[in-house]
């Protein structure tokens, strides 16, 4: 182990069972990082059974930019033998293994060969000793938090304050016991390891951070964007968004209802929008499939609507608790007929917040459904990000029922501005909102000319929105010959790959897409400058090796140098994995030249 006097980043992987409170200790660590102005990103696995089971929580924190939850851990904490066995490969050579020696019997020779420093800590025993015999397992996680506070030389008082907040409202003895456990962990003699990790001191920016998950950010973003009605049906990993909105919206005079099924959820959201209330629904893959017929109605009737899709592995029931970016196709095309809708994808947790405000605005301005794509990794990941400037962001919704002299819901020469029910129309001609092809008043029309003009009118929204979008920024080396393209939660990964490539002699550049329908302008021109355009995404490469976005970009830009880097193993991309795949592709494309 090199003993750096100071480090900028560190990755901690805590492996145990979900009942051990791994998630709460990881969350407190992440929140602590946010409070001391560090970057932080977490990653967790959810046990596949309700009753719990093996689970991990990984925290990547640091004073330098943190773009991913981290590939390999610097510190692995193993509660059980299975935790040790399953995760020792995720610890980097030269790392630190902290293990509960009541349960774990590590192979010390193997560790020595990999220059791993083992630290045996009788965590269970010491916690029992400190807290008392009854709460055997409980408090072990807080003991660990104390230990990590010592290892990383974090501010003990700040950590203690977090623990107190965590147990706020609980019995006083609970708070006392946990503080005792924290103290015991902090006091434990860890030897040399105590000098391994000292974070660089970053000058205090004075900025406050908030630390939350992607699902929380989506829900609060919806409220900030003025959404006041929603409807949904429980499905992993979307459920948490609806739970938050159900609880929070009444405080804002709004309502979120749990409906009998997914079909009812989108129908209700459309009904809310028809009434003039900014509305949303959401789901994960299977539910999104069910919603697509009604989505077409929202397109046809030109009602503003926000639809969240927190993607998981598919098709069908698929992998409910794993990540995949395989709903892009349904988001872009799901529903029969020509049904243009806007599709946005959040880049990270912070973006989950901002993208919802944007989605609500676009829906309202263009009277169009907007699909926001998130995914399982973002849903459960904690990130710290700068406290948003809420004063300038928040939309206070208002219902405009001003009397109109006359009203055409679908004027051929102007955008739709619906008159919600309750609006008096002086000329006495009230609008019909319909899924049938219609004329300007909403009366059914089967005329070829009308269908042509109305179809064009609906897709024109995408053209108008596209015209507003700035060309996307390219990140990385100016002289790069290879461009990585990503969307959604691969944003941090492709940037990290670019950062790492700078020292590797093969400089790379990256372009991240947030607007997927319409796409931003100038993509073909940008791509044309590169020998290789590699589209990195978590879905199946299919016949030609390009994933769902790769195929779209090939079709849209006609650039033959577009290739795919895809995978469907239920996990996020690791930086090293992408680098390796990039190198592989570059080598194979170079080979003919060297023959």
């Amino acid at each position: 182990m090199s003993n750096p006097s100071s480090i900028s980043n560190s990755v901690i992987r805590i492996a145990g069972n979900s009942q051990d409170g791994i998630q709460s200790v990881g969350t407190m660590l992440a929140r602590m990082a946010g409070r001391i102005d560090m970057d932080v990103m977490t990653y967790m696995t959810i046990p596949s059974t309700i009753s719990g089971g093996p689970s991990i929580f990984q925290v990547h924190m640091g004073t330098a930019t943190v773009l991913t939850p981290g590939d390999l851990a610097d510190v692995l904490v193993a509660f059980y033998q299975h935790s040790y066995e399953n995760h020792i490969e995720s610890l980097r050579d030269g790392g630190v293994l902290i293990y509960d020696d009541t349960h774990v019997d590590p192979d010390l020779d193997a560790l020595r060969q990999r220059r791993i420093t083992p630290v045996a800590v009788p965590m269970t025993a010491l916690t029992v000793e400190t807290v008392g015999g009854t709460g055997t397992q409980k408090g072990k996680n807080i003991f660990l938090l104390g230990l990590l506070t010592r290892v990383y030389r974090l501010d003990y008082d700040k950590v203690a304050a977090l623990v107190k907040e965590q147990f706020r409202g609980k019995d006083e003895s609970v708070v006392r016991n946990n503080l005792l456990a924290l103290e015991a962990g902090y006091a434990y003699q860890i030897g040399d390891v105590g000098s391994f990790f000292t974070f660089d001191i970053k000058p205090e920016s004075g900025e406050t951070n908030v630390t939350m998950t992607g699902n929380q950010a989506l829900a609060y973003g919806a409220i900030a964007g003025g959404i006041r009605f929603g409807a949904g049906y429980p499905i992993t990993p979307w459920t948490e968004v609806m739970e938050i909105l159900r609880r929070e919206l009444p405080r804002y005079g709004g309502t979120f209802i749990q409906t009998e099924d997914e079909l009812a959820a989108i129908a209700a959201a459309i009904g809310g929008a028809y009434g003039g209330t900014p509305s949303l629904t959401g789901s994960s893959g299977p539910g999104i499939s069910l919603k697509t017929e009604a989505l077409g109605f929202a397109v046809m009737s030109e009602l503003p609507l926000v639809i969240i899709d927190v993607q998981r592995g598919g098709p069908s029931t698929g992998l409910p608790t794993n990540v995949e970016q395989s709903d892009l196709s349904i988001a872009l095309n799901g529903s029969h007929g020509d049904a243009p809708r806007v599709v946005l994808a959040a880049a990270n947790v912070e973006d989950c917040f901002y993208i919802m405000i944007e989605a609500a605005q676009i829906a309202r301005r263009f009277s169009v459904p907007v699909i926001v794509l998130s995914d399982q990794a973002l849903a459960t990941r904690l990130e710290a990000f700068p406290y948003p400037n809420l004063d300038s962001l928040v939309e206070e919704p208002s219902l405009n029922l001003a009397t109109r002299e006359s009203h055409k819901p679908y004027p051929l020469d102007a955008p739709t501005h619906h008159a919600p029910p309750g609006t008096k129309v002086v000329d006495g001609r009230y609008p019909t909102i319909t899924g049938l092809e219609h004329d300007e008043y909403g009366n059914p029309s089967g005329s070829a000319q009308m269908h042509t003009r109305m179809t064009h009118r609906r897709s024109d929204k995408l053209r108008r929105l596209a015209a507003e979008l700035p060309p996307p920024e390219v990140y990385g080396a100016k002289d790069a010959r290879t461009l990585l393209v990503g969307w959604g939660s691969t944003c941090g990964v492709i940037r990290s790959v670019v950062d790492q490539s700078i020292t590797s002699g093969e400089p790379l550049a990256a372009l991240h897409l947030r607007n997927l329908n319409p796409l931003p302008p100038s993509l073909a021109e940008i791509f044309a400058k590169y020998d290789n355009v590699l589209v990195v995404e978590l879905n199946e490469g299919g016949v030609n090796g390009c994933g769902q976005l790769g195929r779209l970009l090939r079709a849209e830009t006609c650039q033959p140098q577009i290739r795919g880097i895809t995978k469907s193993d239920g996990g996020s991309f690791r930086v090293s994995e992408v680098l390796e795949r990039v190198r592989g592709i570059l080598e194979s494309t170079r080979r003919p030249a060297t023959l």
Partner: protein, 299 residues
Amino acid sequence: METDTLTIEPAEPMTRDDLKADRPTWCPGCGDFSVLAMYQKFLVDRQYPQEKIATLSGIGCSSRFPYFINTHSVHFIHGRIIPFATALSLTRPELFPFVIIGDGDAFSIGGNHLTHAARKNVNLNVIILNNQVYGLTKKQTSPTSPLGFRSKTDPWGSRMTPVNPARQIIGAGATFFARASAANPKHLIQMYERMSAHEGFSVLEVLSECVQFFKGSFDGASSGKGGDFVEIGPDHDVTDEGAAFALAEKPFPGVFGVFHEVRRTTLNEMEQENIRAVAPAELQRPTVDKLKDSFNRLT
């Protein structure tokens, strides 16, 4: 949220002409004409502000209503208008929404929504125009088609037990159920009145003959056609669910009138309760301040 910016001037009373829109395209003699005419008469009698009436339909012959009535109207997709209307009822309580659908929307493709809206007691009026056949698609078996009904999908006669609307809807927990017939407009309008006076989920089943594909289906309930229109007597206790089920078991064409009416907390009241539980001062605070409270807890 700002709710109402209506100009307050003494309005002319609404007339049936005000409510007329496109000429109905139903087949001549279709029962739906009478249901529409009585709907217009009922709205004029009630003098609801025209701009606050919402006529909401699914898909089918009867669901063409929105084009034939001049109110704010919605012609939604097949089966889903009840959750759509639920949202409108919850978010815009000052409106007068009427759901008008056929037996396919109500009992087949949208059956799940009907039973759940009944259970939740959404404050909503649902008028089901039951013609016991799929008319718009030209004679297929509907969930209310009687045993033996010969349709294009059951050329040998339907063998499936039809839905009993009264039993199903009352069983699902609807707090109001009544039955009427397009052939008896005077009675029909009384039922509109009773339905609209009820607070909670109100269903009115109206037998409305499809002259094109199931002619004579309801002759048995028409005194002019040799049948008998039997009204529920004054001694029926509408709060007695058992008595309502007994009426529902009467053989075709059954009885007409209010089967069941009880008062139970509505979904609207429950949801309002959630908002009322928030202190009034808290409700008045700007969104940005409340969001800051939440964010401050996440620092």
